[in-house]
Symmetry: C2
Subunit: 323 residues, 2 copies
């Protein structure tokens, strides 16, 4: 057998599913590539590429996609075409098409464009609120309350991100009690889901379990808690597994690992959807997602952006011949 024959796999790898009966049987994958991913890519893509990306993501079976952000173009030029993207992407029956809004003005733009679910960002640390949201921690929460109230009038649900829930690049550690209290405040204000967000990716499994349990103790039920994990320190899937053990069933991820870490040049950002789906399918957990279809989308985005795919699963399956 030649070396080439030896190293050429003849099988399209897939996980060998073994269920863990203590875990949930179905999970919602909340795709953030078009928003959280693309806003962190240095390149500004044309609207038709973004529209095609969203179309492909829904076609792969994803039931929730964060499509864009109605943030002023001077803040995030990558997403300046929010109206056009939302106007052109057809959200399938029963699926969610979400847009991030920074304030009531952004909400008005989103509603005018036809958006039926929005997300808001608050911060678990004072420093991040000041550096990235241009307000205080309390100010960010007030702004979220205004958005939630205005959205509620229109019957539009709001998903709240609690950034820096597991560590902050300026402050270091973040008290878990504060995270739980802020999550409960955000939920109490009307956010239907609170996404505990590991914005810099430093969290580990015991930390995740403790944060979830304290948030539940503070009054947010498990089905109202999502996890938004970054893979900067390679911990995201371990943290997903920990969260599954304590009953969490909604996880954010980005196809192909789109987006980078804004706090560490060259480092990984969002958890890749393919890597998440591999884990879940390996555990026998249903997602409704077609993995190879996602990989093909990542291959296409990789060609479009001219850079390697950040998903380990997509990279390995591409090497194994999936195309």
């Amino acid at each position: 057998m030649s070396d080439a024959e030896r190293t050429r796999p003849v099988w399209h790898p897939r996980p060998q599913p073994v269920a863990d009966p203590s875990l949930p049987s179905r999970v919602r994958v909340y795709e953030v590539g078009p928003r959280d991913g693309l806003q962190a890519e240095p390149e500004i893509l044309p609207a038709d590429v973004k529209i095609e990306l969203c179309r492909r993501l829904y076609a792969s079976g994803l039931g929730a996609v964060e499509l864009t952000s109605f943030v002023p173009a001077r803040w995030i030029p990558q997403l300046a075409d929010a109206e056009e993207v939302v106007g052109e992407v057809e959200v399938p029956e029963g699926a969610r098409g979400v847009a991030l809004v920074p304030n009531v003005r952004g909400l008005e733009r989103a509603l005018a464009a036809g958006v039926r679910e929005v997300s808001v960002v608050v911060s678990a640390t004072e420093t991040f609120a000041q550096a990235n949201l241009n307000t205080t921690l309390a100010g960010a929460l007030d702004r979220a309350r205004e958005v939630i109230a205005a959205a509620s009038v229109e019957g539009v649900p709001v998903r709240g991100y609690l950034s820096m829930s597991f560590g902050d690049p300026w402050e270091g550690s973040v008290p878990i009690e504060r995270v739980a209290d802020l999550a409960a405040e955000l939920h109490g204000a009307g956010a239907g889901t609170v996404a505990l967000s590991d914005t810099i990716g430093t969290g580990t499994p015991g930390h995740v379990i403790e944060a979830v349990e304290r948030t539940v103790a503070a009054g947010v039920s498990r089905e109202r808690i999502a996890l938004h994990l970054h893979d900067t320190y390679g911990q995201a899937l371990g943290n997903v597994q920990a969260a599954l053990r304590v009953g969490i069933t909604e996880f954010d991820s980005s196809t192909g690992g789109l987006g980078r870490c804004p706090f560490a040049k060259g480092a990984t950002g969002n958890l890749a959807t393919e890597d998440l789906v591999w884990l879940l399918h390996g555990l026998g957990i249903e997602t409704g997602v077609d993995l190879e279809s996602l990989v093909r989308t990542s291959q296409w985005m990789s060609r479009t952006l001219g850079r390697p795919i950040a998903s380990r699963v997509a990279t390995a399956l591409t090497a194994a011949g999936v195309s």
Copy 2:
């Protein structure tokens, strides 16, 4: 605040430890970079670089390092200098310095060079045995038995790898009962530790738990089972967490993620030691390892090999200013 100020972290990130009392309090990290890592790197490094690598790894607190392999140079030219490396590396008091041996001839070379612990490889699949070990599945086991018997005469312990325990690039799925039975045979023959090896990285947590439990049921106690995980599909740390839950306390990894996946060009190979240590320290589990010292070793190896570090933790900490 300028953009540069906003994105510059002022903190050397580290995990915020939260113990999970159901997990072990201490874990052995078994470093395979100098052997499994370097044998898979295309570049052949000079012996003095390998010696310096091993010296640095022990100096970082690692208590077990697989130093090299006494395999004929025509098979693995990267490790043709096994005698020189073993002769020059001083194994600290109480630490393990292991060498892989393919057969009794290799064992003799290793013993002559002063090695006091060896490892052997057997296969959970017929195809891998034929393609990579140039024998049959049964033949590989016989060869391991011969090595174990000869090593036993000299009072030298043997660690046995069971390759392709969680998937095979030619056969696909691998029956878990077969893995458990082979692990028990290898242990019964005298291998002190059996490393269930996810050589292509396709395993997921339920699969790992099932493989460990069946191996225990087949007669191998938990403290005799190690896990050798590759991160090709990003699953390694999730699998470590699963294994910790069922009482496994020895894990293989490679500093900087040295080594590549021989079955998928461009894909990740060994679990990176830094990523493993981040997880363990985040869980409050003692390892005795100094993380930043490992990162500096990976930075040095990255300059030496002229390629980026494969460890996510080392990449992120480098970006955060660790040097």
